[in-house]
């Protein structure tokens, strides 16, 4: 019953979307506001409708309605309530509905804004949103139906179908498959929705870009309207990537946080174009340049969002993210191809109107360095894209599948990332329009000297790894420049207004949130880079089989195996838990409890590391194996991960900076209202 309700709601939403597309198009062509208003109502109606559908799935999940195939495949009796609810995005059919739900919510929210001066954008924004929504709904309605039920035919076969096949009876399994234990981690429960929120909110700036191209209103209005959407999209995408890294570090048990897995890269690629876009729109706003480029970037971001959803959900490439294969691949490619061609032809139609009035002149000007930053981001994107599709390309041309692994990405992107770090240090000090080596040098020498002092300290501490020293120098340089910028700004304000320095700093950041939020993000990147250099360059590992009371040593640390207990838990796990004592330089620093949980129901073991975290390093120990009867002979794998916590701290600072940048600018709005009222007065006079 509920399944029928949910499926019916999906079909109706699909039809409503089609109607909305048609009436928005007709209204825009005929300039008939009644049709546009009707399309707007259709848009607003999609949200409650998809909500009914999504809530139906949740209801079925929570009530263990195993006659529904999806419910049986992602939940089980023993799962706690919150996991049943979040199983909405535990598999492909549910995820697609979840995607549609978010999109309907965001697009409806946009539709509710005050359009006033932007009336001509409205129908086209509705059309782009609804076309995207209709596409995802059609996948749910026709291919990946989350409400399909299980039936047993007279010959005993089990079939999956929405409607009862002839001569079959309903089939209701006693228990479901359950969510893979590896995914039962807080990071993994909020990681997919964060990524999806990021994916979906990028649809909005794209919709406005297309609206600008169609209507020919190609000034930077569309960018100003969607600035905050873009930042919010970027915020969620960044958060999703960081949480994914944390999940991998905590759960996958290889002491790593990022594996250059195709699915990770699929989420990373729209982030790259989105980041380039965030930077280059500033040049359009300030200097009226790079208009074509911004259009290309947002179109690319949209296509990569679709591509990312496709990759994470289709299993076209081998990956640790073992989601199933499905039939939706060709449909995705057709949709991407179609939207790409339409977007590009719209762009070509407006190509001449988008020409900039001015040219870039100075190669060290802020805008030229921003352009360089964009090229580096696109360079990393090309590396990633090449790596992901290389097996397909090589198969087409040589008949032989050839893949590239993490070393490829590390080698090819490391210099590009280093270049980006360097730019992060130089660009904030470069002037708009015109800047020379001399002016830049004058602005830069103080932070530069400060960074050299840091390098001296590093050399003094005995580190001789040249790449790490270069990396740390870059980090120190960017940090020094960024802090110097805060200091200079606060000092100038302090002198001018007489505010105390902390107050001046607060007001400074408050008045120009995007700029100073951006700087905070840069500081976050620096902290993350420190953590990444630490774990990538200085990670060490060892392993050993020891009996009770014996020790394994790794660097300054040694581990003593104290005891092991094996027991069953009430929620269907068999737990083997070791107690080890950790000594650093011979001093006892604490106990750790690495363990292995075996889930009877899914026959899946899960290794949970014991981790001792400090700002200096992580001591990360895995219980690998043990003898069943005696407590002799337990095997541990041990990682020493220096500085890795700076990565997580950096992630936190990064998100904080994005929040600062995205926070509504009260002063700006006031000044806008003021500007508007003066214009109004001028028009009246």
């Amino acid at each position: 019953m509920v399944a029928n309700l949910g499926y019916g709601a999906l079909i109706i939403t699909f039809l409503v979307s089609l109607y909305g597309i048609g009436s928005a198009y007709y209204g825009a062509r005929r300039k008939d506001h009644r049709w546009i208003a009707s399309a707007r109502n259709a848009m607003l109606l999609t949200f409650p409708l998809v909500t009914v559908s999504a809530l139906s799935i949740i209801y079925l999940l929570v009530t263990n309605a195993y006659e529904v195939d999806y419910v049986a495949s992602v939940t089980s009796n023993s799962m706690p309530l919150y996991l049943k609810v979040t199983a909405l995005w535990g598999g492909q059919p549910g995820s697609l509905v979840f995607w549609s739900w978010l999109l309907a919510a965001f697009a409806s929210a946009v539709t509710l804004r005050k359009w006033e001066r932007d009336q001509e954008f409205l129908p086209w924004v509705i059309i782009v949103s609804l076309v995207t929504l209709a596409f995802f709904l059609s996948l749910s309605v026709f291919i990946e139906n989350p409400f399909a039920r299980l039936w047993q035919t007279s010959s005993g076969q089990i079939k999956t179908a929405m409607l009862q096949p002839m001569g079959s009876i309903p089939f209701i399994p006693a228990d479901g498959n359950g969510l893979n234990p590896l995914l039962r981690h807080p990071g993994m429960i909020i990681h997919p929705p964060m990524l999806y929120l990021g994916f979906v909110s990028f649809v909005i700036p794209y919709a406005f870009a297309i609206a600008a191209l169609v209507t020919g209103r190609t000034d930077d209005r569309w960018i100003r309207i969607t600035r905050r959407w873009t930042l919010v999209a970027w915020l969620f995408l960044s958060l999703g990537l960081i949480l994914g890294g944390r999940w991998a570090y905590d759960v996958l048990g290889w002491g790593g946080y990022w594996g250059w897995d195709p699915v990770e890269i699929a989420a990373f690629m729209p982030w790259l174009t989105g980041t380039a876009f965030l930077h280059s729109v500033m040049i359009q706003e300030k200097r009226g340049m790079l208009k074509h480029w911004n259009m290309i970037l947002i179109i690319l971001t949209y296509e990569l969002v679709i591509f990312g959803t496709f990759l994470t959900r289709s299993g076209v490439l081998s990956s640790v993210h073992a989601f199933a294969q499905s039939a939706i691949g060709p449909v995705f490619f057709a949709f991407m191809g179609l939207t790409f061609v339409v977007s590009l032809s719209l762009l070509l139609r407006r190509w001449n109107e988008l020409k900039a009035g001015t040219n870039m002149s100075s190669m060290l000007s802020r805008e030229a360095l921003f352009l360089l930053n964009n090229l580096l981001f696109i360079g990393i994107l090309v590396v990633c894209f090449w790596g992901v599709i290389f097996p397909l390309i090589s198969e087409i041309f040589t008949g032989q599948k050839v893949t590239v692994g993490p070393p490829f990405y590390e080698r090819a992107t490391a210099p590009l990332f280093a270049g980006l770090l360097l730019l992060m240090g130089v660009a904030p000090l470069a002037a708009w329009r015109y800047s020379t080596a001399k002016t830049l040098g004058r602005a830069m020498w103080k932070p530069f000297i400060a960074s050299l002092v840091v390098v001296a300290f590093i050399l003094f501490s005995g580190i001789r790894h040249w790449a790490a020293i270069l990396g740390f120098w870059l980090c120190a340089f960017v940090a020094a420049v960024t802090l110097y910028e805060f200091w200079r700004g606060a000092l100038a304000r302090h002198r001018k207004s007489g505010e105390s320095l902390p107050v001046a700093l607060w007001h400074l950041a408050g008045r120009n949130r995007r700029r100073y939020g951006g700087y905070i993000i840069h500081l976050g990147v620096v902290l993350m880079a420190i953590g990444i250099i630490g774990i990538e360059v200085f990670q060490s590992e060892t392993q050993g089989t020891i009996s009770q009371g014996e020790q394994v040593t790794l660097g300054d640390y040694s581990v003593t195996f104290e005891s092991l207990s094996v027991f069953d838990t009430a929620d269907g796990r068999n737990v083997a838990r070791a107690v080890v004592s950790i000594y650093k330089d011979g001093q006892f620093v604490g106990e750790l409890y690495p363990r292995r949980d075996y889930y009877y129901e899914s026959q899946q073991p899960m290794t949970i590391p014991g981790v001792r975290s400090t700002w200096e390093d992580d001591f990360y120990i895995l219980l690998v194996d043990w003898q069943p009867i005696s407590t002799a002979g337990v095997t541990f794998k041990i990682y020493h991960n220096p500085l890795v916590n700076w990565l997580w701290l950096g992630g936190f600072v990064f998100i904080l900076g994005t929040l600062v940048a995205a926070w509504p600018d009260r002063d700006l709005q006031k000044s806008r209202i003021k500007a508007k009222s003066t214009r109004y007065a001028a028009a009246k006079a």
Binding site: L375, V404, P407, V624, D625, T635, K637
Partner: protein, 175 residues
Amino acid sequence: MVDQDFEGSGSPQARSAGRAKFIVGGLLIVAAVVYLIVTSTQASAQYFLTVDELADRKGSDIGRDVRVSGAVIGDTVAYEPETLTLKFTVAHVPGDNSEIEAQGGLAKVLYDAVNDPGRARMEVVYIGPKPDLLRHEAQAIMTGELGEDGVFYADELLLKCPTKYEEAVPGQIEG
């Protein structure tokens, strides 16, 4: 890369010289990215082969790391914790996705592979912790070298268990 300054205002010649400088700078970056991609590809490309294809090439020097996928046969998994040596045998599965689809999906292909004694099989040795996902009918994706003894020495081991994620409810394997 950008170590020169340029006066923005000036004669048309100077302006086009400025533009040329930007184009050269852009081309240099493009060239650098292409160089990075080409050299990194050469340095780290791995052939993706099936167990069958690898058996055909036995003895011939492949010259680089190979990536191979196979279905894990549960009975053969043996682990020596003292040396962290993991040994198991995999059975041939098709490498091509469309082929897997045509044969009824990954779960079915894996099921067939381990239950077909006629399939090509290969012994695998891997040093490291025993992965949680290693089990009967899992798909193992291994990177490493084929030794002269016909044993595959893996440096890297990835596992996929489609049945456990979402493929089918128990007993749904169709006859």
